[in-house]
C-alpha cells in the first residue's frame, strides 16, 4: 500500500464523504452521486481550465472548514472551489441556491431560440434537462432574441451560434486536443460568439470531439444531422482497431436496423466522454462492418427526453420519476405554445436542416 493520504471530510446536503485534498466540491458531490450533484454546463473534467463560467453549479458553503468555520459570504462555483477539511455545503437543501440556479437557467434561456423541435441535440441536450429541472414556467423576456449570421465551419461540423451558451468547452478541446486551434470566442459581452472569423473549415483529426463536448445543439454532426431523431435510434457499444494512437477506438454507434447513422464517443452519466475518438472513426466509419459490436448501450443519462419521450408526446409517468431520482418532472414550457418554429402548419420533415427560427418566418 502506498503511503496513506490524509482525506478531507466534507458534508454536502448533510451527506458525508471523504475526498482527497484538491478535490472540488462538484467532484466530491459526484462521489456521493444522485440528487445532490450540482448541474454543470461548462465544467468538463477532461478539459483543463474549464468551469466557472456558466454558474449553474453554484452552491452555498455554510461552513468553511474545521479550522475556519465561517460560512463563505457568496455562493461559489462548486466546479472551481476546492474542499477544505470539515467543509459543509448546501446545494438542494439551500433555497438560496435553488433560487440563484433558477436565475441562471433563466439567463441561459433568455436568448436561446427554443428551436428544440428542429434541433439535432434534442434528447441529448443538457440545457433542456436543466430547464426541466430548474427552469421557470414561462419567459419574462419580452425582447427580440439575439441572432447571429450563420457561419460555415466545414462539411463535417455544423455551428448554430444561437444555441451556444459560451461554455468555452469547444475552445479548450481544440486547444488541448489539436495542434492548431482555428476557432475561438469572438466579440465580447452579449454578442460574444464562437467562430473562425474568416470563414474556414475546422480541419484536424480530433476536432470532431467538439461535437461531443458541446452541452447544447450549437455544434452538431453534419454527417448525421436530421437524418433521424436520436430516440428513434438504437445505441450500441462498438470498437475498432484505430490507426491513430491517440484515439481510443471505443464508440457508440447510433443505428437503425443495420444502418449506422452516427458515431459518438461513449459518455458517462454526467454527459462527459469516457475517452476521445478521432474524426476518422466519427465521420468516416459508417459501415457496420467497420466495427466490432459489443452490445446495447445503457444510456445512463437522467435526461427525460433521452428515454425516448418528448414534450407534447405522451410520457409514461413511472419512467420519468425513476430517471429523475424520484422527483416529479416539471415542464419548463409547452413548446407548442411558445415556440415560433413549431407551427402545426409547417411540416417539419420538409425543412432542410436544423433551421433557425428565421427560416420559418420566411414561409
Amino acid at each position: 500500500m502506498a503511503e496513506e493520504k490524509k482525506l478531507f471530510k466534507v458534508k454536502i446536503d448533510n451527506i458525508s464523504v471523504e475526498v482527497e485534498p484538491g478535490t472540488t466540491i462538484l467532484n466530491a458531490a459526484r462521489r456521493i452521486g444522485g440528487d445532490i450533484v450540482p448541474p454543470a454546463m461548462c465544467y468538463y473534467s477532461k478539459l483543463q481550465g474549464s468551469g466557472g463560467k456558466c454558474r449553474t453549479c453554484l452552491v452555498k458553503v455554510t461552513k468553511g472548514s474545521e479550522a475556519d468555520p465561517r460560512p463563505m459570504p457568496k455562493l461559489v462555483a462548486s466546479c472551481r472551489t476546492t474542499v477544505m477539511d470539515g467543509m459543509e455545503v448546501a446545494n438542494i437543501t439551500s433555497p438560496e441556491v435553488q433560487e440563484a440556479r433558477k436565475g441562471v437557467v433563466e439567463f441561459l434561456l433568455l436568448n436561446h431560440p427554443l428551436d428544440c423541435p428542429v434541433c439535432d441535440q434534442a434528447g441529448e441536450c443538457h440545457l433542456q434537462d436543466l430547464s426541466y429541472e430548474h427552469g421557470a414556467e414561462t419567459t419574462r423576456y419580452e425582447f427580440k432574441r439575439r441572432t447571429f449570421d450563420r457561419i460555415d465551419i466545414g462539411d463535417k461540423i455544423q455551428l448554430h451560434m444561437t444555441r451556444c451558451i459560451l461554455c468555452y468547452r469547444c475552445v479548450f478541446t481544440a486547444d488541448q486536443l489539436t495542434e492548431k486551434r482555428e476557432h475561438g470566442v469572438l466579440g465580447r459581452g452579449e454578442v460574444a460568439e464562437i467562430g473562425t472569423y474568416i470563414h474556414q473549415s475546422l480541419d484536424n483529426n480530433f476536432i470532431g470531439n467538439v461535437i461531443d463536448v458541446c452541452p447544447v445543439g450549437a455544434l452538431t454532426d453534419k454527417t448525421f444531422r436530421f437524418k433521424n431523431r436520436v430516440w428513434f435510434l438504437k445505441a450500441v457499444d462498438a470498437h475498432r482497431q484505430c490507426e491513430d494512437p491517440k484515439c481510443c477506438g471505443k464508440t457508440v454507434l447510433w443505428m437503425r436496423g443495420d444502418e449506422v447513422f452516427r458515431v459518438t464517443a461513449r459518455k458517462d452519466k454526467y454527459g462527459e466522454v469516457e475517452d476521445w475518438i478521432c474524426d476518422t472513426c466519427r465521420f468516416d466509419k459508417k459501415d457496420v462492418k467497420d466495427w466490432v459490436i459489443e452490445g446495447p448501450r445503457n444510456i445512463d443519462r437522467h435526461s427525460v427526453i433521452s428515454q425516448g419521450h418528448y414534450v407534447g408526446v405522451h410520457k409514461p409517468k413511472d419512467t420519468l420519476v425513476e430517471v429523475l431520482d424520484g422527483r416529479q418532472p416539471k415542464l419548463l414550457l409547452d413548446i407548442h405554445t411558445v415556440s415560433e418554429v413549431n407551427r402545426p402548419d409547417i411540416d417539419l420533415s420538409q425543412i432542410d436542416g436544423p433551421a433557425h427560427s428565421d427560416d420559418f418566418n420566411k414561409k
Binding site: R181, E182, G184, V185, L186, G187, R188, T196, Y197, I198
Partner: protein, 161 residues
C-alpha cells in the same frame, strides 16, 4: 508590411517581456498596425500580426474583436467618438450628438459620403469633468459646444486638403 522602422519598434516592444512571452506584444502591435494600415484591421493585417508574433491567427481575431478601439471595418479619416455615459449625459452630450448628426447628415456609426467623418458614440473615456467630450484621433476634445464642434469640423476639412 511594416517598414524597417516599424519592425524595429515591434522588436523593441517584444523585448519588454520575458523570452517566449511575445504574445504580450499583441495589443501594442495591433495599435501600431491599425495606425499604419488605414485606421482599421483587415483579416490580412491580423494574419500578418500573427505571423510577426508567431501566434495563431485565431488568437489575434479573438483579441481584436474584444477591444472596442480596434476597427474591423474601414472608418472615415476623422472619427468623432462622443461619450454618452452618465456624467457626460448630465452635461448635455445628447445635444452634441444630435448636433453632429445634423451637421454632418449621418447617423451614429455612419461615415460621410466623402469618407472624411465617422460618428461613433462611446462609453466613458475618463474625462467626465470636462464634459461633453469626444475623442478625435489621439486626443480628447473637451467642453464641447456646437460652436466648438463647428470649429473642429472645419479644422479637419482644412487638414484633409
Amino acid at each position: 508590411m511594416f517598414s524597417e522602422e516599424k519592425l524595429n519598434k515591434v522588436k523593441e516592444i517584444i523585448a519588454r517581456y520575458p523570452a517566449g512571452k511575445q504574445k504580450s506584444a499583441l495589443i501594442p502591435v495591433l495599435h501600431l498596425a491599425q495606425e499604419e494600415f488605414g485606421g482599421w484591421l483587415s483579416a490580412e493585417t491580423m494574419d500578418y500580426v500573427a505571423s510577426l508574433l508567431q501566434i495563431k491567427p485565431i488568437e489575434v481575431y479573438e483579441v481584436a474583436t474584444f477591444y472596442s478601439m480596434f476597427n474591423l471595418k474601414p472608418v472615415g479619416k476623422y472619427v468623432f467618438e462622443v461619450c454618452q455615459t452618465g456624467p457626460c449625459m448630465l452635461r448635455g452630450s445628447d445635444n452634441i450628438i444630435d448636433y453632429i448628426k445634423k451637421k454632418l447628415d449621418i447617423g451614429v456609426g455612419e461615415t460621410t459620403k466623402d469618407g472624411l467623418f465617422t460618428l461613433k458614440t462611446v462609453e466613458c473615456l475618463g474625462a467626465c469633468g470636462y464634459a461633453p467630450m469626444m475623442q478625435l484621433g489621439k486626443h480628447f476634445r473637451e467642453h464641447l459646444t456646437p460652436e466648438k464642434v463647428d470649429a473642429i469640423i472645419e479644422e479637419c476639412r482644412v487638414k484633409a486638403n
